[in-house]
Symmetry: C2
Subunit: 279 residues, 2 copies
């Protein structure tokens, strides 16, 4: 999905929100906004939002000297999610359809986001999503594809959400390759975040070779490219990966909450909808 023009104000909103979160003074924030302003016109028409978002957050890193500005937040989200793990596991154990419950939980974990919408409450949102109807639900197709697949490529989104992914991976009962970002970007999961969530106990972790907040194939490593092109079933989590991969012709199931109006419109659903959608 290429960036819509409505994404433009949002890049500034994101830079501003992150600057506030980092308690940057006004002058520094002003410098960041101005650099974002200068960089945006260099981006060619038709670029995807993760490509632009990457540049925005790189400017913040560069200007603050913080390689991973969201490090503490990511660790906190992971700890919070891990503290819920036993309870969520019980929920799956006591549910009629373990896989469906695990999918719902995995989407619920997708509310942990400091890019598209930082205004979340994990416990409250969890309850909502567990009872929310899907706007698009390709669960039967997913079950069929899962039954046939020898292995699964699972493309991660955010740190903390990773714990919820772990719950789903445990229900897939297939070998899983779990794809993280090469370097820190917003609160997206890196190898370290995946390890903190215990993903290594349930999957092989690889990096995409790139650090946009959403995988963009042309920039990813050859290893990832090959894994992506040979996987019989791909699970793509979150908006960023949808934005990067929605035009790829592969057996992808997108699991996400449509947090922003632009993505919701692109998919053809209401904002706030939850989605299990086959490409």
């Amino acid at each position: 999905m290429r960036a819509y023009l409505d994404c433009y104000p949002c890049f500034f909103t994101q830079a501003l929100r992150t600057s506030k979160m980092l308690n940057l003074d006004e002058k520094k924030t002003w410098e960041i906004l101005n650099e974002v302003s200068l960089v945006i016109p260099e981006i060619p028409f038709g670029a995807t939002p993760p490509e632009i978002g990457r540049k925005v957050y790189q400017i913040i890193s560069k200007r603050t000297g913080l390689e991973d500005p969201f490090k503490e937040i990511k660790e906190k989200c992971t700890r919070q999610a891990l503290s819920l793990f036993p309870e969520l596991k019980k929920l799956i154990n006591s549910s009629e359809d373990r896989l469906m419950t695990a999918i719902r939980l995995s989407i619920a974990g997708n509310v942990i986001d400091f890019g598209a919408n930082a205004d979340f409450d994990l416990k409250r949102d969890l309850e909502t999503i567990l009872s929310q109807g899907f706007a698009i639900n390709h669960y039967p197709q997913f079950c069929k594809a899962l039954a046939k697949a020898q292995n699964i490529l699972y493309i991660a989104d955010n740190a903390g959400e990773t714990v919820f992914d772990r719950l789903l991976i445990e229900e897939l009962n297939k070998p899983v390759i779990y794809v993280v970002r090469e370097n820190p970007i917003i609160n997206d999961a890196t190898r370290e975040d995946a390890l903190d969530s215990g993903i290594d106990r349930v999957a092989q972790i690889i990096s995409s070779g790139y650090d946009a907040p959403g995988n963009i194939l042309k920039f990813c490593s050859e290893d990832f490219f090959n894994a992506f092109n040979s996987a019989p079933l791909i699970i793509s989590k979150g908006q960023g990966n949808y934005e990067g991969l929605s035009d790829e012709d592969r057996p992808i199931f997108f699991l996400l909450k449509a947090k922003c109006q632009v993505v919701a419109r692109d998919i053809g659903v209401e904002r706030g909808s939850i989605i299990l959608m086959k490409k």
Copy 2:
């Protein structure tokens, strides 16, 4: 009031909204957003929102070749307001406090805005504002100042709102100089819009000599500057003029609806509040 950093995303939102309103195609809109992006870093820290807004809307004019992109909209708003005029005049005639009712109506007219918030419904908003409590109400001070003043400088905001201003001017019972923008900018009132509203029947119309969507003294004409500095009582309508004049040490009464969060915070009220405030 200098531009807050929260104003930055808003400039893009305004450029985007105006481009949509003008049915510009995506490529043209993209060009406009990119030019806005390049121009913003040239603006010195501490500039006021009208100064930046002026540049944004000038880019739209230049890129579309439309000297007055809001011309039709302004004419429509003025016609709509004029159609309400007899009814509103009756309302004043039947009210206990004619001046207060006229002030409320004049603030109600301030909802006509295509910059800060284009999502208004004149008839609905009129009713709301007529019964809404003031967040800041310096009416006693206003009455006292009015009684003493030999004449009044009345700084206009938007076309259509001008008709509501005419109602208030008729209640002031003093010679009034009515200040409009030198050239078209957003839907702000120019001399032509003031004439369309019949302002010439109740006041002398002068131009500020500048075309920012809010008066900024240092850019205005000497004539305006002199009128501003000698006026015993100044009525400043709307957010844009507040943004431009809030730091000036003159006997100004600001009449406005705080339509955006930034201005509301600067004044110290809730967004949506109505204000009659002495500087």
